[in-house]
């Protein structure tokens, strides 16, 4: 019984995953080569969006520094891949080290009862510390094993190789398949996670932490759990990102990227997983397209679009679409979960 219930609940997730698989095999035949290569970067950012969608949208943790885990994953992967001379273990090490780092930061925060915007500031500050420190690591003395950190200019990242043959490196156009596969796996995993008991308790904590605590749940442990898992997913994104760009530089930890991650989730809609993914793709396309024109200032256009968006689509993309579809299907208005009116715990 429980099995079928989970399946039913996961139906939308599986439908999107299926569409993703179709896209994965169709796109290289339809799109131009450079688009496929550049899509790896977009997919990497989508994984980052997914990770924040999980911990903020479902865990209620406003993490302003999700890029810290994304960037750390990329750095650890790069360092490990250079030292190991192969990528397979490096990917695992990146995920494990990043999750462990998140667990330490999370323990520090959740067991100190830090929450709300104060938590946002701590995570942002962690990000900015990584930014400041990594930026000054140019020079031969800053190295991990064989790998130099490279300071502001960053390090070039070894591409992923075939798991059984470290000498066969994948071309950027093939890393697209890896990236898309990873995104789909992370998406299905996250979609499954939120239907489990663990996921439900996390949502309960998001809705009302005190009530969840009175019901006997150790809310700190649950928050720490979802936070660590989210960081692990962000690390996967980071690994894909440095493969897409071919390089990792400290500017991933910058304030702009930190804010951008939050923006994807707001635009896509909190409380959904697909929304932020779509939003990250949309904004990726938008910024890329804007950079190719020189008629209007890019900041001006992007600013106007975001402002109109927040005024006209206040719930975010996915919830608005769900409402719209629901209204058409049932012939009457339905409403998605009402947002906390004060928004302070969001």
């Amino acid at each position: 019984m429980k099995q079928t219930g989970t399946l039913r609940e996961m139906r939308p997730t599986l439908i999107f995953a299926f569409l993703g698989i179709v896209f994965m095999f169709l796109a290289p035949h339809v799109l131009q080569l450079f688009t496929i290569i550049n899509l790896t970067t977009a997919i990497a950012l989508a994984v980052l969006a997914l990770s924040l969608a999980l911990i903020w949208g479902y865990g209620g943790i406003l993490c302003f520094g999700q890029v810290a885990f994304f960037g750390l994953g990329a750095y650890v992967y790069t360092m490990a891949a250079i030292n190991f001379g192969g990528s397979t273990w490096a990917v695992l090490v990146a995920i494990i080290v990043t999750s462990a780092f998140a667990a330490v930061v999370g323990y520090f925060m959740f067991y100190g009862r830090v929450s709300d915007v104060y938590l946002g500031v701590i995570t942002l500050t962690v990000t900015l510390i990584l930014y400041s420190l990594l930026r000054r690591t140019s020079g031969p003395e800053y190295k991990i094993g064989k790998a130099l950190l490279g300071g502001f200019n960053g390090v070039s990242s070894p591409p992923i190789n075939l798991p059984w043959d470290t000498r066969t490196l994948l071309f950027p156009e093939h890393i697209f398949y890896v990236a898309m596969g990873a995104l789909i796996i992370c998406f299905v995993f996250a979609g499954w996670l939120v239907t489990t008991h663990f996921g439900r308790v996390c949502v309960a904590i998001r809705e009302n932490e005190t009530r969840a605590e009175l019901l006997g749940y150790d809310t700190r442990a649950y928050k720490l759990g979802i936070f660590t898992i989210g960081a692990g997913i962000a690390a996967v994104g980071g690994v894909l990102f440095c493969n897409g760009v071919g390089r990792i530089t400290p500017d991933v930890f910058g304030l702009y990227n930190a804010a951008l991650t939050i923006i994807w989730v707001i635009v896509g809609g909190r409380g959904t997983l697909i929304g932020p993914i779509i939003a990250s793709f949309a904004l990726f396309y938008l910024t890329s397209a804007l950079g190719g024109q020189s008629l209007l200032n890019n900041n001006l256009v992007l600013g106007v679009i975001l402002i109109f968006f927040v005024l006209l689509v206040p719930k975010g993309l996915a919830p608005t679409l769900i409402d719209w579809v629901g209204a058409r299907r049932k012939g009457g208005p339905t409403r998605t979960r009402r947002r906390n009116p004060r928004g302070t715990d969001a």
Binding site: V114, V121, I129, R135, L300, G303, G343
Partner: protein, 301 residues
Amino acid sequence: MPHVTPQQKDLPLDLVVAIGLQLIYGIAHLALISIGLAIIFGMMRVINLAHGEFLMLGGYVVVVSTNNGVNIWVAMLILAPLIVGLIGVIVERLLIRWLYGRMVDTLLATWGLSLLLIGLVTSIFGASTATTVAPPLGVLRIGAYSSSAYELFLIGVTIVLGIAIWLVLKLTKLGLVARGTMQNAEMASALGVSTSRIYMITFGLGAAVTGLAGGLLAPVTGVLPNIGATYIAKAFITVISGGASILAGTAAGSVLLGGIQGVVTFLSGPTFGEVGLLLTAIVLLRLMPRGITGRFFRKSL
């Protein structure tokens, strides 16, 4: 890269005074760039990511108006707060007022606003604008050392500004109503206070104070469309570390973070000064999860 510092000899008095002045200036500087944000966050729970751009606009008002022959004091002390305050009111009416109670959405809206303002200023004035503004006060000699008299002036302005805000909050009807709204908006509304008007005035005031700060910093910093980004993170961290009380919070946050940054900068250079500031903020928020004024000075403004 070894960090080469000058030989540390015994500290003569004039050096101690010069360093002390720099420490106080560092704190005042942090308070000056944060106070406007603190007003808007403390009163309205709006995180204004366009705060850095309000500072930038204040600077541009000074640069553009002095280029057109306006006296620098008039530009800094009157025009900058007036124009940026006005922009603040317009922004509140057109944008922010639709978003009250949705703190997270104000993040998106004000981030959009920040990009819009950068784009607008770049489109009008180009990537950089020539200036004729120089620090209007002379050099302050401290024994063998010298400093800018203008820095002393800025320290004074910061203190006066703090007192002025305290007086407004404490003594005027507006202050009373604003404090009431700040503590419990629904209750204030039920008692017949027009919260909408209060919010408009508060946002305008916060913007005006920020514009004043930006204008005052124009003679000692670069004024460029993108310069806001260098201030926003520091201001944001200071305000949140300070906690919900506007004045006590900003003061406590600035003294602690600015003080530590200053000392670490003197000892081991500016990069570690910044890291020191950030680390302090983390430890602080761990020990006091609601900021300094969430634990101490709770009844203060």
